[in-house]
Assembly symmetry: C2
Homo-oligomer: 622 residues x 2
Amino acid sequence: MHITNSKFVKKHMTTLGLGLALLLAAQQVIAGTIIDVSQYGVTKNDGSDSTYQIRKILEMAKQQGATKIVFPKGKYDFYPDRAMQKNVYISNNDPGVKRIIFPLDGFENLEIDGQGSDFMFHGGVNPFVLEDGKNIKFSHFSVDFKRSFHSEASVLATGDGYLDIHIPEAFPYKINTAGILTFVGLQDSPPGKILIPKLERRIAVDNASDYQFKRLLEFDAKLRETAYMRKDIQTGNGLPAEKLPGDRNVRIFQKDLVATVGNIMTFQAKYRKYPGFVVSDSSDVVLDNITIHHAGGMGLLAQRSHNVTMQNSKVTPSEGRYVSTTADATHFVNCTGKIQLLNNLFENQKDDATNIHGIYVAVDKILDAKTIDVRLQHPQQYGFDFIDAGDTLELVHAPSMNTYSTAKVASSERISEEITRVVFQDKFDSRLQEGDSIAEVRDYAEVLIKGNTIRRNRARGMLLNSRGKTVVEDNYFHAPGSAILFEGDANFWYEQGGVSQAIIRNNVFDNSFYAQWGTGIIAVAAGIDNKYKESSRYNKNILIENNTFKVFDYAPILNLFSVDGLVFKNNVIEKNSAYPARAKYKHLFVVNHSDAVSIEKDNTFVGFEKSKEELTKFSTSL
Amino acid sequence: MHITNSKFVKKHMTTLGLGLALLLAAQQVIAGTIIDVSQYGVTKNDGSDSTYQIRKILEMAKQQGATKIVFPKGKYDFYPDRAMQKNVYISNNDPGVKRIIFPLDGFENLEIDGQGSDFMFHGGVNPFVLEDGKNIKFSHFSVDFKRSFHSEASVLATGDGYLDIHIPEAFPYKINTAGILTFVGLQDSPPGKILIPKLERRIAVDNASDYQFKRLLEFDAKLRETAYMRKDIQTGNGLPAEKLPGDRNVRIFQKDLVATVGNIMTFQAKYRKYPGFVVSDSSDVVLDNITIHHAGGMGLLAQRSHNVTMQNSKVTPSEGRYVSTTADATHFVNCTGKIQLLNNLFENQKDDATNIHGIYVAVDKILDAKTIDVRLQHPQQYGFDFIDAGDTLELVHAPSMNTYSTAKVASSERISEEITRVVFQDKFDSRLQEGDSIAEVRDYAEVLIKGNTIRRNRARGMLLNSRGKTVVEDNYFHAPGSAILFEGDANFWYEQGGVSQAIIRNNVFDNSFYAQWGTGIIAVAAGIDNKYKESSRYNKNILIENNTFKVFDYAPILNLFSVDGLVFKNNVIEKNSAYPARAKYKHLFVVNHSDAVSIEKDNTFVGFEKSKEELTKFSTSL
């Protein structure tokens, strides 16, 4: 229950109780602990809004201690109007009062079984928010949104400082009096709703903020992946535009616009408000056979949770779209126990397939020898609550990310979304100064990433930042940026990272890093200040073996700094011509400021012009 | 406590208790019930952030039952970082999680006495939010924001589809790669704050949403009022723009841009998130000798409160600005008892001086003969909670606004911010249908508006929509729109109105309605469908006597429809040439679909070309 609830909700819950009693009186209660939603007013395939009934059913399920909620296979629709509302803080997504379709607070031993159903969400809603749950399973259903939070258009023609695009009907837009293009919502209501036209227009305008964009990215229409070497074009929400002849054809202007005719220009969502599944302060959670076609944020975001598994699932766009989720497919923050990603497909999401990390806060103010104020730095982390009495915190020199001490918390006071006052049990290390960083020392999650396919997304494959044992095996990577990145920084994202044991084996890296996110196929991007890179060894003990690397040029397979211990052994590296080679890359192994990095002799190189000896030489630059 | 609080807050409050104990142990507690903030770590005139100390002091004041909190005269600063946060629903302003500097929840018998101090607020904060208070007084201080939520610029030159403007440093802006102008926040931190440049930029970008605009309005630089006959120019947030030679000179483009060189173009705030004073579910509240220089929304918003007085106070811009509050100076929703506005100055606010009304909800769904779902229609009313067991509701035919029946509530269930399920004690009137409107029948507030000056604002003077006795006397009006408007509608704003007894006497109406908001100096603008105007008598029993009307042409002094009973007697109407006369206006008294409207013989007309008989003839059109 750390992501807050409100009196509003409590009031609601008591009145719900009343409603529920009526419902139970009016309907037959099914024996046992399995609830079939069709028995409680939920209808399929008719476009009606099932949101309110689901709230009632969840309340009943909790009271009965139901172990399973079953949806007979079909299509179910969920609208915002009658959704439960709650102020929630979801790390790495934008906070705020959310409309939650499946509010799952304090459930234990429950499976939600879709039996192959499709769940269609309408408007700005949060499909699943699980808090303080234990032993929860989601299985056999798909999640999609009628109107995606991003937009897409096909490129008809290009010119100096402009693009001509065609915007399909699925992505409603307007061009205002000043000639500025923005995107808006669908006029989208359940059958039978009374519409008051003036109001609907007004609400549509208000809802338009959900469809704001902040940058463009080109997708290759044939390969259905981000176009070769393209990167994000930063914009505001709104581009100067002119209507062109032809239905929904528009010319958009910005001096750095560039694209290939026939490709798809995607307008990337400005906000991350509507992640698909939120798992907060919960344990033993499984997503099995789930398809996430879309989410306005991450597909699965787990925070402060223990043992989370996603398996046999897909993040993949629905028919006709080039983009699935508008941010990472999965993301894990301050989790413990085991994190497992098994046999999933992660494709076309607008950011990494996963990122597993902790959170740093900055020392904002030293009040006395035992007391400090710490500050969450990144607005998307605001409200992330993690410092409690008894916790051990590590004290970190931010520019080097070196941990120089730890201290035990006596008490903490949450002052605001970003500020927490911490009183330590003893005087803290006298080296501590304002601007330093602090993170929780915990049972860092063990990570198993096995049997997944990662492709066609924006940015990177896997961001490995857990200090627990991390195994990445039997996966297929075709990411436009680094397939595997060791991240973490205390100057922008404030994400705690630094692996202590990572094993990367039996994977296929298929022409990853064909675009510009990252610096190599497997790379370090920790935010260590240049002058501290030599004194920092943030990532340790990495084994890379038995993998196949398919590459099309001499871009780095490894690009490392501040690493202590890496063995690259028994891998096969095959050169091909899938993409045009880039002249600027000349060395497969770029290593700086590191100890004990070795490229073993048993690696195999196929199709290269250069000798193995030459290929395996370390370089300190591209 | 209807505007919700959160577990977050409660957790905070308990830890505050601990912090408070420490504070009390460390500091001397003053005897008696007056707290001098300077005794508790609050310092003046040094730019430091007093937010956190004020939270502690308020908590202490509550525990001690303090009757007065005193600020020694000086300048005090308040920043968002350590403000209490709470999800609040403030009618006619935008809902959301607010950062509240003076969170006043459940106080009784308290005065906050500024002793002439100036309170400067920084960033997106809510100065005062009073909930469930009794007998509360605010006195002797001013409220201002370092960075206003609207922006202003002077007009350097004009051309076809563009304006050249100079934007003062007080209003930071940017022009992005696409050449679009938007406004941003100040880099504004208390002395000594550690700044992390990359992050500060990021946060500045996020905060930029607070400074969005939605339309432009020209102010006359000499008269410091909205320019003659100008109206709002609708825009998006962002205009195509080019940098011009000269510091902060910019050309902005939109085909309908028009202005006079030398005047001031104001960029009107898109959102209303930060009203100055919120009074919710409270009674006997007085603002005395308060100056509101600015607020990001209304100056004073009172909802569901009993006996609220604002006296000897000012809403007026601070030095150098043309605009004070970005919305109404004051606004009262579903209030009871007495509403008093006495001897105030209301100037340069971006909307009416006051609006006193109830709220309609629409019947969204009829569930059975006793049960309906009702829907708050206007997004800025979402979360407005007003239907409880035992309440009597009026059932209203929306297009005519005729009340055809009432019904008593057995129970209600709040489903979401906009939907409430209502079960009536008995079967409701069978005429009730989906789309009808419903409002609370209550002890409608008596209103006394006396001795105020209203001028230089955008839009209207007073919107009179209370069904309690309403007296407007001894005021000076110089509003660009209607000085007095009888509003109310059930198709857009969903504001319940309809006076039952209004007395308007001894006022000076000094060349009001010199621009285009409204249809006359005193006018009806109720949202009654044309085909129902004859069958509706929404406003009743209006006496207009002993006033002076200064007019510059034949625009309507009265423009009425659907009124039953209005007497216009013993007024003096003087014609002058303060503004250019407008040819389209030909009749001082326009009356349609009304009964018992009389212009008495004792009115005096001075300076007109036409005879009194001609002047006092009713017309049905302009």
